[in-house]
Assembly symmetry: C2
Homo-oligomer: 256 residues x 2
C-alpha cells in the first residue's frame, strides 16, 4: 500500500531555472490523493531555504521540513558524533552551518563546491585527513547536467580525489546512503515498503532507494537521464517514465 | 651483475631547493665505478631542462638525455598513437609540448598542476573524456613532501577525480608503469636484472621497479619516506638505507 512519495528535485521537478512541464500539477495530484510527499535532494550548492524559495517561485508551496538535504543530515551527524566541520562546500551553502554550536575534533565535510573548488581548498582538507580528521561526503554524485546542457563534474569526483590522496574513506550522507532515505521515511511516519522514490539518477536515486528497502523507485527520462541508464545499475528501476507527471500517473494507477 | 643505476630525483638527490648531503659525491662514485646512471623522475611540474639546470646548480653535471620524465614519455606515446594532447598540467610544463606536430583525436594528459588545478580546468578535461578522448596520467602519485615540510596532494588525486566522474581509466606514463622503467633500461642498454633503482617512494619507485623486473630496488629514508613505508607495499625493498650516499655504499659493496 502506497502511503508516501519521495521526490528528487533537480532534473525531476525542475531543470536549472525551468520548471519541468506538468511537475507542479503532478505534485498537487499526489497531495490530493492523500499521500505524504517529501523532497529529497542531493543538491549541496544551495541552502534549504533557497530550494524552498525556488519551489515557491514555481508555484509549489512546501515548508522547510518537507525538504531533506545532505547539509541538514550532516549537521545532525556532526552534533550526534561530537565533531566540528571543516567545510569544503560552495560559499552559498556555508551559512547553513552558521550559528550552530559544534564541538569536538574536526570532520572534513565535502559538498559540490562548483567553480570554487581549487587546489588550496582541497589541500587544506587533505592535510586535515592526514592528521586523522573524520571524512564526510554530503553527496557522492559523479556528474550533473549543467546550465549549458552538458555534464559537469559533481562532488563525488573531489571526494574520490581526497580519498585517493589520503587513503581515508568518506562516509556518504546524501543519496544513495540508506540513512538519508530513512530520514525521509521517519519524517513521513511511513515504513519503507509504503514509499516510492522518483528520480533522474538511476544509481543514487533509484538503485539507492531500492537498496534502502523502498517499495518502488521510478526513473524519469528528464534531467541527467541518458539512454540506457535503466540497465546500468542494480537493482533496476521499478518503472521508467517520460517525466514526473507520467511517474505520478503510474503511481496513482497502481494504487487503485 | 650490476651495470646500471636508476635514481629518483626529488627526495633522493635533493629536497626542495636543498641538495641532500653526500648525494653529489655518491653519484660521482657510481660513475667512477663504471656504472651507467640515469635519473628517472615523476616530477611533472618542471620541464626536463629545468631539472638538468637544477642538478647543475648542485654541481651535478648531466645531459638532457640522462633525465627521464613522464612528459618525455608522454610525447613519445602521443606521437606513436596519433593523438593530440589536451593538457591538464602546470604552466611550467606546457612549453615541453610546444613545437611538436601532434595530430589526431584528443588525449587528456594530466600532470601535477599544483596550485593551478581548479574546477574549470578539470571540468574541461572531464567533458573531453565524456566525449571519448583518451586518458593519460603523467604520474599517479598520491602525495609529495611540500616546501613547508608537510604532505601535499599530487597528480594522482586529480586523476582519481577524473576517473570517478567520467568512468574512464587513465593509462599511467610515469613510475610505477613498467614501460617507463623499460625506457630507462633501453637508454642504458642494460637488461632489467642488471639495474638497481634508488627512490624514496616505496610504492612507485621501489615496488614499481621490482615489478618491472629490476635486479634491486633500494628505499631511502629521505624525502617523502615515512616510518614503516618498507612494510606498506609489495614487493618490499631489497634494502632500506639512510640516504643516497648509504644506498650507493650498499650497491658498491654488493658488487665486489
Amino acid at each position: 500500500m502506497l502511503r508516501g512519495v519521495l521526490l528528487d528535485l533537480a532534473g525531476v521537478v525542475y531543470d536549472g531555472d525551468t520548471l519541468i512541464p506538468g511537475s507542479a500539477e503532478a505534485i498537487g495530484r499526489l497531495r490530493e490523493a492523500g499521500l505524504s510527499v517529501r523532497f529529497i535532494s542531493n543538491t549541496t550548492r544551495s541552502p534549504r531555504k533557497a530550494l524552498v524559495a525556488q519551489l515557491a517561485g514555481f508555484g509549489i508551496e512546501v515548508s522547510d521540513d518537507e525538504v531533506l538535504t545532505p547539509a541538514g543530515a550532516a549537521i545532525a551527524w556532526l552534533l550526534e558524533n561530537g565533531r566540528s566541520p571543516h567545510l569544503v562546500v560552495h560559499p552559498k551553502l556555508g551559512p547553513e552551518f552558521d550559528g550552530i554550536e559544534f564541538a569536538g575534533p574536526p570532520a572534513v565535510v565535502v559538498g559540490d563546491a562548483g567553480e570554487t573548488f581549487d587546489y588550496a581548498m582541497l589541500n587544506r582538507a587533505f592535510r586535515q585527513l592526514m592528521d586523522g580528521a573524520d571524512f564526510i561526503a554530503l553527496a557522492n554524485n559523479r556528474l550533473f547536467k549543467d546550465r549549458d546542457g552538458l555534464p559537469s563534474m559533481d562532488a563525488g569526483a573531489f571526494v574520490a580525489a581526497l580519498e585517493f590522496a589520503s587513503g581515508a574513506k568518506a562516509t556518504v550522507i546524501g543519496k544513495p546512503a540508506p540513512a538519508f532515505f530513512e530520514a525521509g521515511l521517519r519524517e513521513m511516519g511511513c515504513a519503507a515498503g509504503e514509499v516510492a522514490m522518483v528520480g533522474d539518477d538511476a544509481e543514487s536515486d533509484v538503485a539507492g532507494a531500492l537498496q534502502a528497502g523502498l517499495g518502488a523507485a521510478l526513473l524519469v527520462r528528464t534531467g541527467k537521464y541518458r539512454a540506457g541508464d535503466e540497465r546500468r545499475f542494480d537493482p533496476p528501476p521499478t518503472a521508467v517514465t517520460a517525466d514526473l507527471a507520467a511517474a505520478v500517473e503510474w503511481l496513482l494507477s497502481k494504487r487503485m
